[in-house]
């Protein structure tokens, strides 16, 4: 039985190697060929007509970015370093992003305003939003009160 499992795994691995060898796509560029200095310049459809055009960083992009990150994170890394993600999606957060970057009020960071008060309301309205970041990690501040 164990030998059969090993054989199946080897066959699958060989199949994957074959499929990989037969694939012939160009990798996404490691760095965007044109530097994007400001958020408002990140309107991808200015130059792209294919699926990249959907990445337009308009005001609504914050709503949509999770879907793209779950499908093709390499596309994010063309312009953003990993720390750009961890500013908000930290597994253990020291400072919240809205505290770190007071000089970027145009960015839609979470936890703006008097959030110690507001979190009681947001937590009731849609606790699933809290769960995504604080359900299994980044919860040291939570357990200070919520024991």
């Amino acid at each position: 039985m164990k030998n059969i499992k090993i054989m199946v795994l080897l066959v699958l691995f060989a199949l994957l190697l074959g499929l990989y060898a037969c694939a012939d796509t160009n990798s996404i560029a490691k760095v965007h060929p044109v530097e994007i200095k400001e958020l408002r310049e990140a309107v991808c459809s200015t130059c792209h007509e294919n699926e990249w055009a959907a990445l337009d960083h308009l005001n609504d992009f914050v709503k949509r970015h999770k879907f793209f990150a779950a499908q093709k994170k390499q596309a994010c890394n063309v312009c953003h370093t990993e720390s750009f993600c961890t500013d908000c999606h930290a597994a253990k957060s020291g400072l919240s992003p809205s505290d770190k970057y007071k000089d970027s009020p145009e960015r839609p960071y979470p936890h703006r305003g008097a959030y110690l008060t507001q979190h009681m309301i947001d937590g009731r309205v849609n606790p699933a939003l809290c769960m995504k970041c604080h359900g299994r990690h980044n919860n040291e501040r939570c357990i200070t009160c919520h024991r």
Binding site: D24, A70, Q71, T81, S83, K102, T117, R136
Partner: protein, 436 residues
Amino acid sequence: MKTNSLLSGTKSSSPPIRMAAFLIAFILLLSSPLASWALTLTGESNTFLGARQLTDKSNIVPVYEYLDFAVDKIGDNRVSFHFGGWGKGDLRDESYGKRYDADIEYAYLSFKNDRNNAIVNLGRLLVFEGVATERIDGIYAKTDLKRGFGLSGYVGSPVESVSTGDSGDIIYGGRASFQVPASLVVGASYLMETKGSSDFRKEAGFDVWLNPLKKAVITGKSSYNAVTDGWMEHAYLLTLGPFGNLRLNSDASWINYKDYFASATTDVFKLTPGILDPSEKVRTLGEEVAYTINENLVASADYKNYSYSLAGAADYYGANLTYSVPEKGGAGLSVHRMNGGTDKLRYDEFRVYGFKKFGKADLTLDFHDVDYDSVISGIKSAYVASLAAGYNVTQKFRMVANMDYSRNPIYDRDIRTFLRLVYRFDTTFGGAKGAK
């Protein structure tokens, strides 16, 4: 005085020393005589010095250092190393129960092939693949296959900041995808986290990006909890436009608490015992209409309806106006109303901000206010006013000082100040031409 070792704040089934050894080995590798290749080092350091008085009258003066960097072209153009982490020390009273704290957010070696989007990452990683939004100590690989198919996989130990002891030991999973360029991306993903011989988490999911018409895009995903045998979440978004200067976003989501919160380790999200009712289900429906008035000015209106199976309904709606001029500044105004079934879910929310650049200097003002219909802890209004002043000393070095003044049901008067020093670095060294 309590002290914490660099990684003591995070829990992984692999000992912290393993990560430290990995980093030391990597640094030794870079500094070895054999490392004669040209390396590029890019990164950013953010140092924060804060001051604040807490409700217990303690005065905290924390210093935070956030450092991230990437080392590229390690022997090969395709190999790089990425690091991000932070450390904190309290110069006066202890804050949040720890005088010293730190975290390595990510630290991994990466191999990116020029063909087939093949990637292999090794170390402490962030994994975003379908149902997975995880941080692991382990390995991640991804590649395109033939005819638009793709495959990714990961395995490691989950990294959690604080554990109540019921997290898993090993996590693994993957995602299979298929795409038709410019029209369709679909993926099926799986995640398994085990603890001992039992399954702690077992999730499967489906994600889609669909461009059926030229000006219509559907994105979304569904997640299934195979431990509780129920759908955790469906979340979908339809984007229409642009039609001239108009864009529309419609979103819908469904969440079942019993399945969604089943794997929580933070007490407040645990269903038994907890403040969340496992029988609760919430459906949200939202609409946003954005109109670009001119290249600098965008107006939008948004509406979201929350419908609970037990707690009733709530509506959140409002409007936004944003103005921006490249290299000069910008401003924003938003007004929203929350109308819910309970007193705490009835409030008005206002925000106004502006920032302007004056040569090397810049100034930011931000005011955020929430007016509750009923009194909460003696007050009806919670607000924060922020003032920040920045100065670009050089192209690589920037200073920002900011002060917040806030009043809310917890603080009668809260003043917080921060000084932030930003240093960006970008260096090439090594190689045949010697160090630069």
